[in-house]
Symmetry: C2
Subunit: 105 residues, 2 copies
C-alpha cells in the first residue's frame, strides 16, 4: 500500500532490484526483513512492487535510523545472501524527502 508518511523532511531508501532465477529462501527472508524493519526505531513505512524489476521504497525518520538498520545483524546476513543468491543487480539510493503531495478521492 501507499505509505502514510509524516510531513517532510524525512528519508527514503529506494531499492531497485533485478532478481536471479534462484527463489530459494527469498520470500521467507523478504517477509522476515519487512517485519523486522517495521520494528526499527525511526521506521516510517514501506512501499514495494515487483514485476520485471522490483522497487521497494522504505521511509525513515533520519539517516541515523537508516544506518542502524543497515548494521542490524539479521539484515546484514540477509544482504549477503541477497548478493550471493537472489540479485543479479541492484541500486540503492538514500534520499532526503524535501516535499510531498497527496491526492485521494
Amino acid at each position: 500500500m501507499i505509505a502514510n508518511t509524516p510531513e517532510p523532511p524525512y528519508y527514503a531508501v529506494i531499492f531497485t532490484t533485478l532478481r536471479t532465477d534462484n527463489e530459494e529462501g527469498y520470500d521467507e527472508t523478504a517477509t522476515k526483513m519487512e517485519t523486522l524493519a517495521k520494528q526499527q526505531e525511526g521506521y516510517l513505512g514501506i512501499e514495494s512492487v515487483r514485476d520485471e524489476i522490483g522497487i521497494t521504497v522504505s521511509y525513515w525518520k533520519n539517516v541515523e535510523s537508516i544506518i542502524k538498520w543497515k548494521n542490524n545483524v539479521e539484515h546484514t546476513i540477509a544482504r549477503e545472501k541477497g548478493r550471493a543468491l537472489w540479485y543479479k543487480k541492484y541500486q540503492l539510493r538514500i534520499c532526503k524527502v524535501e516535499r510531498d503531495y497527496g491526492f485521494f478521492r
Copy 2:
C-alpha cells in the same frame, strides 16, 4: 530497467499510485508522458513497476528541472486526467539523492 544515474547529488521523484478501474486512454498517456519526460532538460532516468500499486521513480538533475517538467503543458493536462479518471489515490515525493550504492554480478 534499473536507471543508470550519475554520482549523487541528484533528485528523485517517487510517484506511488493506486489506480481506478478506468483504463481509458491510460496506457497511451503513460507511454507518451514517459517519452516526453525523456526529452526534458535535466532528465536522468526512470524506473517503473506496477502490481497492486504502482511505483514510478524518475530521476532529475535538480529541482528546477522537476518544476519545469511539472509545468509542461501536456504533462499538466495528463495530470488533470489522472486525477479525474485513472487514480484513486497517489503520493508524490520529491527527494534529494544523497548517496547511492550499486551491485551487479
